[in-house]
């Protein structure tokens, strides 16, 4: 959410300077506070709101037992989340009216701001042994990595669209991105925050790939990344906690040791919940696993409760809605007026798509357990607001997009 505020404050003042530079060059546009073309993309908005509403309903269902036992009120989580949802929707609609081209100017400041937060967070009191959250007092916890992901997408879109013709060179097409990605993920590894690191790397890869980087750099990058990961896993203890998770991943029902049992508790409970759902589910509100079996069912593992209550059919519908959201977002972006909008839109919806896939893959124990929240579903006020703001950016892009908007 911090990412959206500076824009509101600074945009009007810079209005005049921008107007002249718009026309001649391909990337620079005529300055407008509001997006020129009228309509925003209704299908995309509909998908966002549908997922948000389903997400809120499921959050309430999944969280009320835990809320009652741990916080004394069934509404503890849902009331907070609903507040942020309203805030987020308002932000989304507002942002959709702003011309996304203004974001060019914020790319570098937001990146620097993210670096700052990523550095600050390392000095925060660790929660469960990791430094990922900055406390915002009554507003809850804020994860700098969430903002960093947005910063990454924004700065990559910004740079690629500016240097599009030189993308096949190392100096302009590879080096800056490697430096940004390396420094950013380096800070994340210090937290440590593996899932955010993975998402950043994947997002960067997708954007550079679409941006036109030569394929051989990807070969080199994969080779290098593999070597780094192998080194970290084999010769340092940096990833030792991730190591245990891999053991737990391979056999979640193992009762070989108490440590592993405790480690796999969440995964096992998740699988019990998913399995209990069967084809049609136990019915909305009927989950049993949410009764303190599945730890924090309102967070990363909320989808297990969704599966338990709504069954395979319900889960499939939600996954299809997400897929449609990604599809629609990419379609909007492909028809965007310029490369900046196109890359920005794709980056944002691919981020949502990746989070959905990785989250559900964790919940189903398809990949080892790592903390990835499910967009629109998982509890977390600031991250929901940020997500909706990002969707607002996509909607803003859709206003200039040549797509059919009904």
């Amino acid at each position: 959410m911090t990412g959206t505020k500076p824009k509101n404050n600074t945009a009007p003042r810079q209005q005049k300077q921008k107007e002249q530079t718009e026309k001649p060059k391909g990337i620079r546009k005529k300055f407008r506070v509001f997006s020129a073309r009228s309509g925003l993309d209704m299908p995309f908005l509909f998908l966002v709101l549908t997922l948000l509403i389903i997400g809120l309903i499921m959050l309430f269902s999944a969280s009320f037992a835990n809320a009652l036992y741990r916080h004394g009120s069934s509404y503890f989580f849902i009331s907070r989340q609903a507040f942020f949802a309203v805030l987020g929707v308002a932000a989304m609609i507002a942002i959709s009216y702003f011309d996304y081209h203004h974001l060019h100017k914020f790319a570098i400041p937001i990146l620097l701001f993210s670096y700052m937060l990523l550095a600050i967070v390392l000095f925060m009191k660790p929660i469960s042994g990791v430094h990922r959250w900055i406390s915002l007092g009554p507003l809850g916890q804020f994860q700098p990595s969430e903002l960093a992901k947005f910063a990454l997408i924004l700065v990559f879109s910004h740079l690629i669209s500016l240097n599009f013709k030189r993308m096949d060179t190392f100096r302009y097409g590879v080096l800056p991105y490697i430096l940004i990605l390396g420094s950013m993920t380096g800070l994340m590894v210090l937290e440590p925050h593996v899932s955010a690191t993975v998402i950043c790397v994947l997002l960067a890869a997708v954007m550079l790939f679409i941006g036109g980087v030569r394929l051989r750099w990807f070969g080199l990058a994969f080779g290098g990344a593999g070597a780094v990961v192998a080194y970290l896993v084999l010769f340092t203890k940096k990833f030792s906690y991730a190591n245990d998770r891999i053991i737990a991943w391979l056999d979640p029902f193992s009762n070989a040791s108490k440590a592993i049992m405790e480690d796999t508790w969440q995964t096992r409970q998740s699988l019990y919940a998913i399995g209990s759902g069967g084809l049609l589910g136990l019915g909305l509100g009927q989950s049993r696993q949410k009764y303190l079996y599945l730890p924090e069912p309102q967070n990363d593992f909320i989808f297990a409760i969704v599966c338990e209550e709504l069954g395979f059919i319900g889960a499939l519908i939600i996954i299809i809605l997400f897929a449609m959201l990604v599809w629609r977002g990419i379609s909007i972006s492909l028809k965007a007026k310029d490369k900046f909008g196109m890359l920005l839109g794709i980056g944002l919806v691919v981020q949502v798509g990746l989070q959905v896939v990785l989250n559900i893959a964790v919940v189903t124990n398809t990949i080892p357990n790592t903390g990835i929240s499910l967009p629109f579903f998982s509890y977390g006020g600031t991250s929901l607001v940020l997500l909706l703001a990002e969707m607002g950016v996509v909607l803003s892009i859709s206003r200039t997009s040549a797509i059919e908007k009904t």
């Binding site: 391909g26 037992a65 036992y69 599009f164 013709k165 997708v206 790939f209 679409i210 941006g211 036109g212 699988l271 019990y272 919940a273 998913i274 399995g275 209990s276 759902g277 069967g278 084809l279 049993r288 696993q289 009764y291 303190l292 079996y293 599966c307 069954g311 395979f312 889960a315 499939l316 996954i319 997400f322 897929a323 990604v326 599809w327 990419i330 972006s333 492909l334 028809k335 965007a336 007026k337 310029d338 490369k339 196109m342 794709i346 691919v350 798509g353 990746l354 959905v356 896939v357 559900i360 893959a361 189903t364 124990n365 398809t366």
Partner: protein, 739 residues
């Protein structure tokens, strides 16, 4: 170049989109399908296992009733004290452990230790009585403890009569499971189905705010109605216990009373048994003391186990023995049925008989001389039965041996009946074998087999199915099952059976079995003294089993009884002297209870007691003449002129030629006399002692038919003060009666 998307960007985007949709979304959909559709049910089972709290509560075990619905074994509510460590906090742990350790008499530290377990169910103590439960409830109230201690209803088995028909009833284990006797045999009926309360629970074990609760009511066990009659059993137990003491029985004793027409067991007593309320305690005090004195170790454990198994063993169906002379009624019946002998067939006994070069002795070494079949049986003469066996031949002998049920289990509904597969088939019955088997030696059977054969001999020839359970009733009293009393087969004809009854009645009246005689009750019987050859081979000392098998009344047999003392070491080891009197005493007590009427023969009538005439209010002369008519002697107390009271009272029995005491004034009627010792005396000595004391005696037992009877019981104890003229019943036996 284009401002917007280039072709390459478009292609690459489509590639990314497809990769994300196909690989990413495809993989998660595949995972979900696998988990929810393929592995769903097994995962759900695991989930349900942890989500459901399954509390079971016991079913009430069925009652065991006697034939008159008196409960012989019943279950009463007790309580299970369960600790719920999950709900015990560090604050109240100390208080709970302290309180429970005091109430339950357990170690406090142990309770503390168990209260720290990570569970919500830990059985602390079982079968706690209601008063202890009330103490715990009070303790919870006093200390405001809402959770952490739970009381669950349970049941405990009670046997209200204690050491009573114990090997028949058996006993149950700590989980109310039948371990022995009927409790084991009918366990599946008695147990019932435990109830279940299934509630959903959350991860910390408390009930969920959730509608999932399913109660399956306990289905209480079925009840058994036995054929055993508590009254009959009571007399049997009492008389057998006395018999065991009196005859210094070394290896336990048993007795069976059977309804000859249905095979229903009315009583089955084993002495040297146990209290089913406490089956693991050794009931034999000497034995218990001996084991207690042993040093701890395997030897002690083994001794304890042996003693327990011995006392649990139902001797009357599990022990095998040589039936001895009691078996002669089977040999005799077979021979009569086959027509090879009749009542008057002549035999000769010279004290021994040679069979295939081997000499077989009669118990009476000087022999019985010439005798017919009836006399031979009454004398229990071995040479007579050796000759009868010869006449029958191995084929026919075995045919009846098998027909009377000696080659198979009786199938009584009690556990522990051995199946004997080793017996002599006709081809193996060589002359010596046949000769010894004819008088009941050299083959082993169980007492229950013997009494079933006795029933067949007496009841018109039918082999009945012995059984102890007549009906099984469900919780609401509906009949679940009724015993089948159809006879298995007819072994001998009704005619042969009737003739055999008569012969055995003669035997019980004047023959070797006369210690079982009871005037008026038409007892038929046969004595038996079995030699325990196996013991002799092992120890060099011969031991005996004294038995008496009989039935009554002989003209229409109702009940059969077999009395069996293993290794008597008293004055005699013969069936006639050891088992006969116990048989008679028990029959005398149970026959009137079972409604069998006395019917006297002329000889019996001649010796029978008469009824005292009513002479109260009459003058002395009138009374004297009334008494002389009945050959009674008057004895007058007091100085009045009219009779004010009399002993015995009018209508009460008085022996023929007895003395009636007449009181002529109030003061004189306060006179009392002291009952002397009347046991262990000959008939004349008893008469003399009674006359000296001014008492009347009524004699019973072998004195009426015997040659040399000795008294063995008196109805009023020695030293009791009674009015003069009171009638004391004195029982006689023939202590020297052999066989």
């Amino acid at each position: 170049m284009a401002k917007g998307t280039t072709i390459r960007m478009w292609r690459r985007t489509v590639f990314v989109l497809l990769a994300l949709i196909v690989v990413g979304f495809g993989a998660i959909i595949f995972s979900l399908a696998k988990l929810q559709l393929v592995e769903g049910s097994s995962l759900q089972t695991r989930a349900v296992d942890q989500q459901l709290k399954d509390t079971s509560f016991s079913a009430q075990r069925g009652t065991i009733y006697d034939c008159n619905m008196k409960p012989l074994a019943e279950s009463a509510s007790v309580w299970k004290v369960v600790l719920e460590p999950a709900f015990i906090t560090d604050k109240n742990r100390e208080v709970i452990a302290d309180g429970l350790s005091k109430i339950l008499g357990m170690d406090k530290n142990e309770i503390i230790k168990r209260s720290m377990k990570k569970t919500y169910y830990d059985e602390l103590k079982r079968k706690v009585e209601t008063d202890v439960k009330d103490q715990i409830i009070q303790f919870k109230v006093d200390h405001k403890i809402d959770s952490g201690i739970r009381l669950i209803e349970d049941y405990k088995r009670y046997y209200p009569y204690g050491e009573f028909a114990a090997p028949v009833l058996g006993f149950t284990g700590t989980d109310n499971q039948g371990l022995y006797g009927l409790e084991k045999q009918y366990d599946s009926y008695l147990t019932g189905v435990p109830g279940k309360l299934v509630t959903a629970k959350n991860a910390i074990g408390t009930d969920m705010p959730f509608q999932y609760e399913q109660k399956v009511n306990a289905q209480n066990g079925d009840s058994l109605v036995l054929t055993i009659d508590e009254v009959v059993q009571h007399f049997l137990e009492k008389n057998m216990a006395e018999g065991v003491v009196e005859n210094k029985v070394g290896n336990r004793a048993c007795a069976i009373v059977m309804n000859v027409k249905t095979g229903a067991i009315l009583g089955m007593a084993v002495k040297g048994d146990f209290d089913p309320n406490n089956p693991f305690a050794v009931a034999d005090k000497e034995e218990a003391a001996k084991i207690a004195a042993m040093p701890e170790g395997d030897a002690k454990k083994a001794a304890l186990k042996a003693a327990q198994e011995k006392q649990w063993r139902n001797k009357s169906i599990s022990d095998t023995y040589y039936p001895g002379s009691v078996f002669k009624m089977v040999t005799g019946s077979s021979a009569m049925e086959e027509g090879v002998v009749n009542e008057s067939t002549p035999f000769f006994c010279g004290g021994s008989i040679k069979v295939a070069g081997q000499t077989i002795h009669c118990w009476r070494s000087r022999g019985h001389g010439s005798e017919n079949f009836v006399q031979g049986l009454c004398n229990s003469c071995n040479p007579v039965f050796v000759q009868i066996g010869e006449k029958l031949g191995p084929q026919r002998f075995f045919k009846y041996f098998s027909a009377f049920g000696f080659t198979s289990k009786t199938g009584i509904d009690l556990p522990g009946e051995p199946l004997r597969t080793i017996y002599y088939t006709p081809d193996k019955l060589n002359p010596v074998e046949l000769a010894t088997e004819s008088f009941g030696q050299n083959f082993s059977i169980t007492p229950i087999q013997m009494i079933t054969a006795i029933a067949a001999v007496s009841n018109g020839g039918y082999l009945v199915q012995p059984h102890v359970v007549s009906q099984i009733l469900d919780e609401d009293g509906n009949i679940v099952k009724t015993a089948d009393t159809t006879p298995k087969r007819q072994v001998i004809s009704a005619d042969t059976s009737a003739r055999m009854c008569k012969i055995l009645q003669t035997n019980a009246t004047i023959g070797t079995a006369k210690n079982g005689y009871l005037p008026g009750y038409r007892i038929g019987g046969k004595t038996g003294t079995s030699q325990k050859m196996d013991v002799k081979q092992k120890t060099g000392v011969m031991q005996y089993i004294a038995s008496y098998g009989g039935f009554a009344p002989a003209d229409d047999p109702q009940v059969a009884m077999l009395v069996f003392f293993d290794e008597p070491h008293g004055n005699s080891y013969y069936g006639a002297a050891v088992a006969g009197p116990v048989f008679a005493k028990t029959m005398e007590e149970i026959l009137p209870y079972l409604g069998v009427q006395r019917k006297y023969t002329d000889t019996e009538l001649a010796k029978l007691d008469v009824k005292a005439p009513d002479v109260v209010g009459k003058t002395i002369d009138e009374a004297k003449s009334a008494l002389s008519k009945q050959k009674l002697t008057p004895k007058i107390y007091g100085s009045g002129t009219k009779i004010v009271s009399q002993v015995p009272e009018a209508g009460k029995t008085i022996p023929q030629n007895g003395t009636m005491v007449l009181f002529t004034d109030e003061k004189s009627s306060d006179t009392t006399v002291t009952v002397p010792k009347l046991v262990g005396l000959s008939l004349p000595a008893v008469n003399k002692a009674a006359a000296n004391a001014g008492l009347n005696i009524s004699i019973t037992g072998a004195a009426l038919t015997g040659t040399n009877p000795v008294s063995n019981s008196q109805s009023i104890a020695e030293g009791t003060k009674v009015p003069p003229g009171t009638v004391v019943v004195v029982g006689f036996i023939e202590p020297n009666q052999v066989e």
